[in-house]
Symmetry: D2
Subunit: 459 residues, 4 copies
């Protein structure tokens, strides 16, 4: 990964970030701007919300720190928040997912301080999160809970548990200052399943100290973004990285959650032979009934061509599996963190390693077999492709926008736990989306409504 220089201006501890940013190359802004507009054209729901936000200013005076994948769609979310009155700072939620042209345009064309460089090293990654913390957010936005967990470690005075770059900075703060940063937070939002799992664990451990809306829990988020978005963009990433033929290829999809079934069904739709691995017997049965082979990974590893992980869990592909894989196996991750593949184990096993195509690392094992790791094990769709298509992020980020509005509106009256966006808001987003597609649906007649709430009439 690229080592990245210090940001030109150190982030201030409060407000006034207008001149601060850290992007790769401002010369990319022109291209970024066009691409942001291209995405905007496919985000009609977010456009409608932005128009309302501009008129109603529901986020007026609110500082928002957003730690998200810096893509064209996120750019449109950030614009929406800003037009709603918010003072937004944006940092990357993944070292490989940043689109550098977008970051440049956000800074230059939309005045949004952005800290994100594709391929940044871990130090830079956390220096950028530090900038988001130093913004003193009222509202946090996370994609994987890295921002919230850093914030909580600081407020819990557990500096040993945060990254040194953040710890060093926090060590200069007094306990009061640390508390102040924390106490200003009204609440947060979280984009992913993985993040929600972490937040629920925080809730369980009694350390979650403000409400967080798990945007992923909205039907209009996880039913669409995960299934159709990840489903398509994972295959898109696979094709861009490798240009292999999917027809006839034997592909393992680890995990049959919404993401996994999105990938499995699309891979099948392209002619691949798909094997699913699962730990949940009910999901495993569904996969079988949906026409997929189901096997444990130690078996699947022996006779497949491609392995894609979408589990949210650790080391789903591990040493024993690398040992079993045929020569030429391609492995990639499309779950949130790059922990799903045990890369350190692979590094240790390999006698040599080289880059054979962009995003393709070839590991040679002692017995001469080659294993090809894509995108360093990071989210394949963001590393090798462009992330989710805009029209699906339209709904996810409509959820983010309404969640931010909801957090601000409900003030500190909410409990310190993970919330789901109210069902009416969720349905409203779907309704807006259908309208933009020109699609009408049925409504219940009064007689039908009554029928559904009565139990008296039978056969």
């Amino acid at each position: 990964m690229t080592a990245v220089a210090e940001p030109t201006t150190l982030p201030q501890t409060q407000g006034g970030n207008q001149q601060n940013y850290d992007v790769k190359d401002m010369a990319l802004a022109d291209k970024g701007k066009l691409r942001i507009e291209w995405a905007e054209a496919q985000m009609p729901v977010l456009r409608q919300i932005r128009a309302r936000f501009a008129a109603e200013q529901p986020l007026k005076g609110i500082r928002v720190s957003a730690c998200l994948h810096v893509t064209t769609e996120t750019a449109n979310l950030a614009r929406t928040l800003k037009e709603g009155g918010a003072d937004v700072v944006l940092c990357a939620s993944n070292p490989l997912s940043t689109q550098d042209d977008v970051a440049a345009s956000l800074v230059r064309d939309f005045g949004i301080p952005t800290y994100a460089i594709k391929g940044e090293d871990t130090d830079s990654y956390y220096r950028h999160i530090r900038a988001a913390i130093a913004h003193h957010p009222h509202v946090t936005m996370d994609d994987g809970a890295d921002l919230v967990s850093s914030l909580l470690f600081i407020s819990l005075n557990r500096l040993a548990d945060v990254h040194p770059v953040v710890a060093e900075w926090a060590s200069h703060l007094s306990e009061d200052e640390r508390k102040a940063i924390h106490d200003e937070i009204i609440g947060g939002t979280e984009e992913t399943t993985t993040g929600v799992i972490r937040l629920r664990a925080m809730e369980q451990d009694g350390v979650l100290s403000f409400p967080v809306v798990g945007v992923n829990e909205s039907d209009t988020k996880h039913l669409f973004d995960n299934r159709y978005g990840t489903g398509q963009s994972t295959l898109d990433g696979l094709l861009r990285a490798t240009n292999i033929l999917l027809a006839g290829k034997k592909i393992v999809v680890a995990g049959y959650g919404w993401c996994g079934r999105g990938v499995a069904s699309r891979a099948k739709g392209m002619g691949a032979h798909v094997t699913v691995t699962e730990i949940d017997p009910i999901r495993a049965l569904e996969a079988i009934m949906d026409g997929f082979t189901v096997a444990p990974m130690h078996e699947a590893a022996t006779n497949n061509d491609v392995f894609l992980t979408l589990t949210g869990d650790l080391h789903v592909l591990d040493e024993q599996h690398f040992n079993a894989m045929p020569d030429g196996a391609i492995i990639a991750n499309s779950g949130h963190f790059n922990d799903e593949i045990n890369i350190p184990a692979l590094e240790k096993m390999a006698v040599s390693k080289r880059t054979v195509r962009e995003f393709v690392e070839e590991y040679t094992l002692p017995d001469g077999r080659h294993i090809y790791l894509l995108g360093e094990g990071r989210l394949l769709n963001l590393a090798a492709a462009e992330g989710h298509p805009a029209s699906v992020m339209d709904m996810s980020f409509a959820n983010q926008s309404l969640a931010a509005e909801y957090i601000v509106a409900s003030g500190k009256s909410l409990d310190k736990r993970v919330y789901v966006l109210p069902k009416e808001l969720d349905s409203e987003i779907a309704r807006l989306k259908l309208a933009t597609m020109g699609i009408e649906i049925d409504t219940l007649t009064p007689a039908q409504q009554k029928y559904l709430t009565s139990w008296e009439s039978g056969t």
Copy 2:
């Protein structure tokens, strides 16, 4: 519908039903027995439960009144309950769904009093339910809540609301006797979505006076029975009734719940062009993203060939739709009740009506157009085909069996509301099923388990 004579022996008010039954023709028992065994061969999970029940006798001394579709699979459920010690009486939950050979064999070969005749009229239908009530059940089993609602009307002294055949009988009971029937009930189980909707309405109205396990809420029930079972058997019923070519046919699926999406995906898999109608915007969007056309029914009615309703709601196909349909339109229902199609309206509109094939009624409208109603608007898969395949009912009825055991074991300690079977039992059923298929799945390593419950490690 066939008018049916009185049962040979009137049901007694308590126990001793051994000689009582009402079936079409005992001579059919041989064929029924073979078919029950054919189904048994495909119900390995239920077989395992039956073996355990025989050893453990968890239902010893328990009277069970089951109002279910009398099919080969139900026969195997009834055998399971009986071997578990229960005293079982069975009546039909739908006038058209009974398999007469199975009913005969249940009586002759398995000693289970059965009241069910395919094509029985409404009087007979309720006379049969009356027999189930007169059995003084400890546990009720419903498929659409007709048994429970009749029981509740009696205990609430609302005899005007029950069918006259039941009311007349109940009128001879003292209030104490009515109360006694009711008070003996420990709880019930309910098989369908439609029944659960009715039970929830009862709960809402404060009249549900014992706990009921909504078996349909189990993942191993609704994810499989509704999607794969109804999905396949609805098309099976359509083909048996009409022998039309599905490839290239334009088919409307009303409702994109589990049943609807099962039918839609299979119809597509057979080459049909599927249009979905919905009232829920989120489901409508899913249907679009899954590749289906979505339209309101008043539009869909104008240019499609076949209309299948799976909504659980009233008059989804109504006069305005019949008016709009092209000549030759085929309409059928695969939801629980025959209310989804407004048949009285169609009868009123038609200038003539005749049966053109078994299960196909031709209605001629004043302008000369013909509409073909299948299976009298009753559950198409049960009317024209054989209901769900045994291997999917294996799981549904494993749920029923474990639900009955759970109701008995938890005694009267449960609240008076609709319950879901505990998640562990649900997963256990899936686990048993996978084992019978010889399929192994992954299990979490301790490290993975820990990872899923911690929040500390991030990017």
Copy 3:
């Protein structure tokens, strides 16, 4: 199989067959008539041809002997020929495929002498073919070439090679009479791939002595009837015979011709896991790329649930495969002849055999395993279901009708070989079909037409 009595009146050697027929039960005619009309409603192309034939009388005075599956669709073909002026006699082309109600109605309502009884034994089968021969046809219509081959054996004086029932009758004819029967033939038509393979072998051997139009070679026949018709109706037969759940089931499809790929794709569309067996490496590769598993039968036999043969070849399932199959394996044939499964070998291996459901024979092997043979190994879709849907036979029989017209019109000017229907007639049928569906397509502009025939302009 049912032993069948002699026809009431012996077929005369020439013309005047009006009183002659052999059907099961004339009382079934009412039901048959309604079903013939039901099919007619879905055969708009054939209806249009019938109207033209009635006006133009292209078959005036022509005797047609048709040896076809006696189904509702064939009834409509026979009506079409008759209205075109032909004197038609119809016999069954398969002992199990006759619909007895249709046969009765053909005789009673449409005046077409029909010789066909479902479940007839081989003697009766050939007695019926004999009646078709005794009709002294100008035009033959075959489905498997049984009529033509019997005719040729007679004309070649190879009486030892025909069935004794035919041989005995022919032995009473003088050589001149045998020659006369043969010389009156203008030509024939053949419906199936299997029949065309036999006819090509006759051509190769120099014994084919009149032209035959291989209707199956028309695109509007084999691309539709085989793929969509057999594809659907094979699964329909499987479900009616067994009521098994297809989702998750492991199904072997032997043969990846048009029939096989029709079945494979629909089985997949219903959630089955499909393995294809092939002898052609190119087709095998296509199957893999289309997402199917490919294996040799000896491997596939060991771990699948259902085996369907559609190869047109001999003993595709043989002793070694029965030995390898798991307990409970279901085997069925959807190719033309019942030779694809080596039933004699299975009979010999089995220690016992019984009928467990209609169309399901259970064979118990010495080691206790059971194998279930459907429909006696005869065409599954005709034995257990209703054959192809009318709307696909609409095109096949439009081809038959136009082929008969073509044979008559081209007189004896054609060579003694297998012909394909001219491309324009083939396209015309498709054009008529599209028109009945209300579908418009593009036409070439003059500029486009020119472009396609020029080579001068390039990049």
Copy 4:
């Protein structure tokens, strides 16, 4: 398009091209070499043929001029020919399809003179073809017949019909020299349907003066390359160019040939709603039965999102269609030539035009609607993606290799027409491919073989 400078060394009129080439940047060779090896790993059939060629030298002393898409797969074909003894020169068959890194590596690492620069203008394009002609080929290889047609024009002394760059050069040759170039040609090969259509037209016009093997006619070419290769890579190109969500998108596929059905089926497999346009009524019916909507383009144009042309014909999308399309319509071509979309008409209609993303031109029409043209209307999969995956080109180029060997071996004994590769060679390629996938298939037993060639045994 980039204007390109003259090649550093002018091509000589005979042999000795070793120092001649015209590529973009030799510094790209490292990357190109790795990518050529990546493709090689997925071309096991070609590798086996290369090994045999190296041993047998079937092309020893043969000059080959290949006008093909300069991709990683073509590089491996060129290596195969060279190792077989040929003296190969390679030029681009499309101005946009060249992979510049591959071109550089071909020159530097494999010693193959290559003339190809991505984005070259028409002059450069024909200057490169001129170099291929000047190589005095014994064997030509074409992808669209541009090389052969130029050659023929020269030999026919129709210099007015060739591009000026070629004409100018040819004008310096004597008639004898022109004749010599032509007479040295033993024969050619052609890769595409489009090229074969042109060659057939030449044959029709009596100007084709040497045999050409239409490689596209091989089953192992068109059944795979067109359907699975173009099918996948067209969608890959669409996603790389636009990053739109396919699920729920309304896509028109013009043409239901092998390419079109490959795209249609995969688009459906990704959740798109596909409408097919056709001029052939039989193909149109197939499309309907396969589950696609069929409409004429003037109707389809009004309500779809994306339009892909794969017809091999002219102006399939024309002014009337642009006038009807909704705002935001995306149009692209995946047929061979960029004539399928009438781009000049679009240019004329538009009030402005700009590049909004790489490979995406936005045309604004007078009424404010925008139409987005991808890849300048050139082959989308080559312009915006990487062309066909290597594993499918493996078979196409195995055909090319064996076709070249066949041409050389059969010498001048062949007629002057378009040939198909002998069926045995075609099957052999499939057999090799299956072997590399470790897949075994069935073989006919002697009894089965006999059965297929006999006609005596029937029902």
